[in-house]
Amino acid sequence: MNWNAFLEFVRGPLFQVSLLVFVAGMLYRLVRVLMLGWSRDNVPSKGSKGGGVVKSFLKSILIWPFIPWVKRTFSKNPVIYLAGGLFHLALLVVLILGTAHMLVWKSLLGFGWATLPLPMVDWMAAVGIAAMVALLIHRLVNPVMRLISGPSEWANWTLVFLPMVSGYMLTHHMFFRYEVLFSIHMLVVDILLIWIPLSRISHFIFYFFARTIHGVEFGKRAVNP
C-alpha cells in the first residue's frame, strides 16, 4: 500500500467531506436547539434572568474549574477534576497554540497567530494523553461510570484518544514512518469530525446553551407551578 497516496486522500477529499458534514451537522443541531425555544413563564419573575445568566457563566467558566473548594469538586472526585480539567486544557493548548494545528486553522481561516514552542505543546499533549488514560481507567473501574457508559461513550473516548496518541507519535517519529502515522492521524480526525455532531462531544457548543438555560432558571424569582 502506498501511504503517501492514502495520505493525499485523507488530507484532501476525505477531510473536505468530513469538514462539510461537521459544519452541516453542527448547524443542524444548533437550529434544532434554538427552535426548542424558551419554556413558558406562567408566573412573572421578580428576579433578573439576565443577571442569572451572567452569574452562571462567571461561575462555570472562571470559578468552578479553577477554585475546587467552592463546590468541593476536587474532594468529591479528584480524578474527574484533575484529569478532566487537564484534558480540556491540553486540548485547547495543542489545538490552538500548537504550530502544526495553527497552520491548519491558517489554511482554513486565512490568518494565523503566534504559537507556543514545540516542547511546551509537547508536554501538554503528553499530559492530555495521560489524563485520557486516567479517565478511561476511572470509567472502567467506577461502578456508576460503567453504568452510564454505552457504546457511544466508548466511541467518544476512542475517537478522541486516537488522534491525540497518533499525533504525539507523529511528532516524535515513533515506531512507524511519518506518512503512516500522519495518515492514521488524519483518518481518525476525519472520522471524529463526522462523529462530533452525532455525539455528546458537541458539548463544546451546547455547554454554553446549558449554562444559559440554567442561568435563566436560577435568575428567576417566582413560584413555578
Binding site: 500500500m1 488530507r11 473536505q16 451537522g25 437550529v31 497552520l103 514512518r177 506518512e179
Partner: protein, 374 residues
C-alpha cells in the same frame, strides 16, 4: 573478437591499475555495499562461492570481465533537466566512471547527429544489443493522441518499441517515474509514468526533479556490476538512495525537534538556519538522498540553501498542496460556496425538522385540551 571490457576501455583511456582499483573502491562506497549481494547474480566464478569475497573484488571482477553497457536514452515530455544534471554532475569518480562504462547509443539531447541518421543509428543499436541494453526514459508518456511525436512516431509507440528489447528500464526523474509536472491537474496530455505502461520488464524509478545523478549512476553501476537491479521499495525506487526521508537526514532537524521554525524567508529564524516546516517543507514525507549526497559535489541541497523541500521524488508532488503551505494544513480548503451550501443544508434541515416537531407538539396539545374539555 570478444567485446572490449570496461577495464580494457579504461586502460585505453589511460587509467592506471592503481586508479582502476580506486574507482572500484569508490563504487563500493557509492553503492553502499556493506554486505554481499546475492552471489548467484553477481557473475563471479562459482569456486568463490564459499570463500569470503569482498565487495570490492566483486566490483573489480565485474569491470574486468564485462563489456560496456549499451544504453538507449529516450526523452518524451521532459525538460532534459535530468540529462543536464547528469552531464554537469561534479562528482567525477562515480559519475564519470559510470558514464565511461556505458555506451550511450542514442540520446536525443546529446547526439551530435540528427534527423533520419540518428533514428537509423537507434534502430541499428536496438537490433545489435537486443535483450542487453538498458533503456533510460526521461519524461512522461502522453497517452492522448497527437502529443509528443518524434520522427512521426508517438511517444507511446517509441517507448513500447524500445522497451521490447530492453534488459531493464530506468525511469529517471519524476516525469518518467510518476508522470511529474506534465501529469499535474488537469493533465491535458493524459501523461503517465513508464511503469503504468510497460508491465513486463524490470523497471527502476529514480524520481526527483531532476533525479540525483549519483542515484541514477549508482543504479546503472549496480546493473553493470551485478547484472541485476538493486533492492527496490514499494514505488520501485532503489532503497540505497530512497531509504530515508529528507527530514530524517536533514541538517535542520535539531531545530525541528527544538521547535525553532523560520516564519518567513527573511526573518531571524531563516538567517539562523532554523527548520522550514512552517514555510511548507515536505521533507517528512519525501524519500530521497538529497540531504546526504547533496548536489554539486556535496556543496548544498535546497533545504540547506534555505528553501523548503517540494517533495519532488514523490508521486503527484505538483498537486500535493501549496509549496509554501505547512504540511500539516489540509491539501486544499473547500470553496466558500460549498461550505455555504453545506451550512445552508444543515440550517434548512434543522429548521424543517424543528417546524415539524413544533406542529406535532401543537396538535398534540390541542388534542389533549379537547380531551380535557370533553
Amino acid at each position: 573478437m570478444p567485446e572490449e571490457t570496461v577495464h580494457q576501455y579504461l586502460q585505453k583511456q589511460g587509467v592506471s591499475r592503481r586508479d582502476f582499483l580506486k574507482i572500484c573502491g569508490a563504487l563500493v562506497g557509492a553503492l553502499g555495499l556493506t554486505r554481499m549481494p546475492p552471489f548467484d547474480e553477481s557473475g563471479l566464478p562459482g569456486n568463490l562461492k564459499h570463500t569470503s569475497v569482498k565487495p570490492i573484488d566483486m566490483v573489480r571482477h565485474a569491470l574486468e570481465t564485462k563489456p560496456r553497457l549499451p544504453v538507449i536514452w529516450l526523452e518524451f515530455q521532459d525538460c532534459a533537466g535530468c540529462s543536464e544534471a547528469l552531464t554537469r554532475s561534479h562528482s567525477p569518480t562515480l559519475v564519470n566512471l559510470v558514464l565511461n562504462s556505458i555506451t550511450v547509443e542514442y540520446h536525443e539531447t546529446l547526439s551530435a547527429a540528427a534527423g533520419f541518421q540518428v533514428e537509423e543509428a537507434k534502430q541499428a543499436a536496438m537490433k545489435k544489443y537486443a535483450g542487453q541494453y538498458i533503456l533510460v526514459v526521461e519524461g512522461s508518456i502522453p497517452e492522448g493522441d497527437g502529443y509528443c511525436t518524434i520522427g512521426g512516431k508517438s511517444a507511446l509507440d517509441l517507448l513500447k518499441e524500445a522497451a521490447a528489447g530492453a534488459a531493464a528500464i530506468i525511469a529517471t526523474g519524476n516525469c518518467a517515474s510518476f508522470g511529474g509536472i506534465p501529469k499535474a491537474r488537469p493533465n491535458p496530455t493524459n501523461a503517465k509514468g513508464v511503469w503504468e505502461i510497460i508491465t513486463d520488464k524490470p523497471i527502476v524509478n529514480i524520481p526527483g526533479c531532476p533525479a540525483i545523478p549519483e542515484a541514477f549512476t549508482g543504479t546503472l553501476a549496480n546493473f553493470l556490476i551485478f547484472g541485476s537491479l538493486p533492492e527496490l521499495d514499494g514505488l520501485r525506487r532503489p532503497k540505497t538512495f530512497y531509504g530515508n526521508t529528507i527530514h530524517d537526514r536533514c541538517l535542520r532537524r535539531p531545530f525541528y525537534e527544538a521547535g525553532k521554525f523560520a516564519e518567513s524567508f527573511d526573518d531571524e529564524g531563516a538567517r539562523q538556519g532554523w527548520c522550514l516546516y512552517k514555510l511548507g517543507c515536505k521533507g517528512p514525507t519525501t524519500y530521497n538522498a538529497c540531504a546526504t549526497i547533496k548536489w554539486d559535489a556535496g556543496l548544498s541541497f535546497p533545504v540547506q540553501s534555505g528553501h523548503p523541500c517540494l517533495g519532488c521524488s514523490e508521486p503527484n508532488f505538483w498537486d500535493g498542496g501549496g509549496f509554501y503551505q505547512g504540511q500539516s494544513a489540509p491539501l486544499n480548503r473547500p470553496a466558500v460556496t460549498v461550505v455555504g451550501a453545506a451550512a445552508a443544508a444543515g440550517i434548512v434541515a434543522g429548521a424543517a425538522m424543528g417546524a415539524a416537531n413544533q406542529s406535532q407538539k401543537k396538535s398534540a396539545a390541542r388534542k389533549s385540551k379537547k380531551q380535557k374539555d370533553a
